[in-house]
């Protein structure tokens, strides 16, 4: 029982640190950029005091929605990765490596090009819907294959292949799209948080928060599911229904980020892993909120680098997340091998 109390103190401090980091990075994200704003000025804006029109414009129209979107979408993506890892009982599963992000990307590209060609204004809701069905489509393929391929490595490889196929088709579509739209589309298909509007933020929050809350409410059955399928069933878990929920929610969460920021790599794998290592537990009731917070912090940090490092030009968010995320994946593999020996 002593161990329990010590663990609880540890969880609490870790959550506190993550929360402080989140606030700190949000502030930094709003201040830093091609035009750097002094912190004092930013603070004045948030206190509702008088600031210059330029500062107000930069914060309100560009940086604040972008920062909020990065925070919420990062959390959603990490949670989606956590769900997939639990589902497949493998720490290397994630929406990007399993090709689920790419499936969503393909569907969003199709609907984008279609609407641009017809000069329609594409709503955020339509984008999310397209991304969700794209995710589900890839997920369906992955699930079919997981029934056939016994080994998890086979699953990851076939997932990656689905990802490549979807990406290739997306590239072809983007290439054939109208010249004027290419720049926009091209940026999006590589992954970026730029150009997020308040309308986007509203839709993101409307989808990501309820979905994340739903995941949190699954904490108890997920914990039982970790003990093995037969055990979970015998404890009263409706395993079939739980698995459907997990698939739907992870597709929705990863679809959400693809719709607005394009495919963002490695967050889904790296964040849950780092969070597990930090919290030193596998209890879903701790890990689910921790993954969300961790994902927010990670994405804010990466977006900051993407915007600042080569300012005034931007690098794609996926480039940055890969730099920080891919080594984590390698680390996981090394640890797993050592663990088996």
């Amino acid at each position: 029982m002593k161990g329990n109390r010590r663990a609880e103190t540890w969880y609490f401090s870790a959550f506190a640190v993550l929360f402080v980091l989140l606030l700190f990075l949000m502030a930094w994200n709003i201040c830093a950029g091609s035009v750097s704003l002094p912190f004092r000025e930013t603070l004045r804006f948030f206190m509702g005091q008088e600031v210059s029109e330029t500062v107000r414009g930069i914060i309100w129209k560009i940086r604040l929605p972008r920062t909020l979107a990065a925070a919420v979408l990062g959390g959603a993506l990490a949670l989606s990765g956590y769900l997939l890892q639990t589902f497949f009982r493998n720490p290397i599963a994630g929406p990007f490596v399993l090709g689920i992000s790419s499936g969503a990307k393909l569907m969003v590209a199709v609907i984008m090009i279609f609407s641009l060609g017809n000069a329609w204004r594409l709503s955020s809701a339509a984008m999310i819907t397209a991304a969700f069905f794209g995710s589900l489509l890839s997920m369906g393929l992955v699930l079919i294959m997981s029934g056939r391929v016994e080994h998890i490595a086979g699953l990851i490889v076939s997932g990656s292949m689905i990802g490549y196929i979807c990406s290739a088709i997306t590239d072809i579509l983007v290439t054939f799209a109208d010249d004027a739209d290419i720049v926009n589309l091209h940026n999006w298909s590589r992954g970026s948080f730029s150009g997020i509007s308040w309308e986007n933020v509203a839709v993101i929050c409307l989808v990501a928060f309820p979905a994340s809350l739903a995941v949190f409410f699954l904490a108890k059955p997920i914990n039982a599911y970790q003990m093995g399928e037969a055990s979970a069933k015998s404890m009263g878990v409706d395993v079939k229904r739980l698995r459907i929920y997990m698939v739907l929610l992870s597709s929705l969460l990863s679809g959400c980020i693809v719709a607005f920021a394009g495919p963002v790599s490695f967050v889904g794998i790296a964040v849950p892993h780092l969070v597990r290592q930090t919290f030193r537990t596998s209890r879903p009731i701790i890990l689910i909120p921790a993954c969300f917070l961790g994902g927010s912090v990670f994405c804010l940090f990466c977006d900051l680098i993407a915007r600042v490092i080569l300012a005034p030009s931007e690098i794609s968010i996926s480039t940055v997340t890969a730099v920080f995320g891919a080594p984590v994946v390698i680390l996981i593999m090394l640890r797993r091998k050592r663990g088996r020996e």
Partner: protein, 402 residues
Amino acid sequence: MKNHFFHTEDLAVGYHGTCVAEEIRIWGDRGRILTLIGPNGAGKSTILKTLAGLLPTVHGTVWLDGKRLEQIPRKELAKKIAVVFTEKPSGEFLTCREVVEAGRYPYTGRFGLLSARDKEAVSEAMELVAVSDLADRPFDCLSDGQRQRVMLARAVCQEPQMLLLDEPTSHLDIKYKLEFLTILREMAGKKQISVVMSLHELDLAERVSDMLACVKNGRVEHFGTPEDIFVPGYMEQLFGMLQGSFDVGSGTAEFSAARGEPKVFVIAGGGTGKQTFWRLQRERIPFAVGILSENDVDYPTAHATALHVVREAAGEQNHAGEPDWAGQQNHAGDPDRAGQQNHAEEQDQTEQYTSDELLKEAKLWIDRCDHVICCGDRAVQANKYNKELLRYACKVGKMAEK
């Protein structure tokens, strides 16, 4: 049937409506252990899954505590039945206590937070299976034996009335096998749990079970007490053993005898011979043994491994009480097994032998062999004949240097 805690009624089990095993009529009581034995792939796991309510029946009914199993709501069933199957919890940093705590699932609220009562049940379960000192250790770092006990604690924590285990001792070494089954036996009695499990270790199954069900070829071939099931010859038949045999007396398996012309004659008795028999058998050297009383400790092993045993009858009561169904099947399908003729026939022969004839027969076997091995002084003193045999062997110059 009705007064048992659970029973099955003309049950057929399988996947997607395809039968794996049928005509299953078994029952079990609280505080008692029912063990399923039988060859691999006979359907033991499928039966267990069906009894646990994890798999729908193909047809027939499982009655649990006077109710049809499929009509008991999932949540209620979770408080009645727990399982320990061959699966492993996954999750880094998962501690043993967390694994055990998961067993409280049916009793906790929406977020699975534990009440004082739940925590009490967890510590009690861990104490019962002797894993309290492992509570804060990561589950991944345990030995197989410890893991299996933690899994048992998780199931116990569910406070079930019935516990189903699929080959719980499979990957454990002998120490942990005994430990696990001892704990299981105690727990069944103390908590009045009806235990149903599958086991591969026949010797342990015979000792630990109150009832046994022999599953073979998609049927429960026999269902009864260990005394009913463990009769000479039946294990060989159940498992379709063509090589070797199962000694009911000691509950151990023996490899089959080497065939051919006898090369070695072994003078044994009083428990001196086993190692020599096994060594010769490993080398695949056909050998004869003599003279052994049927009551001798060495007799069962000699009988199973030697080409021939020159034996002194122990009396008529020896094979009495052997049921017909086992006797008829004795060594069926293996007519050319040397040295193991039909029991009855052999018995008649020996009973007519006088001491002189017995000695004469043994000497004839010595003459056929190239060497004679004597298993020490105790072998010579085991009966009144062996001293004479040793002298004869020396005389003909066949005594082997050890």
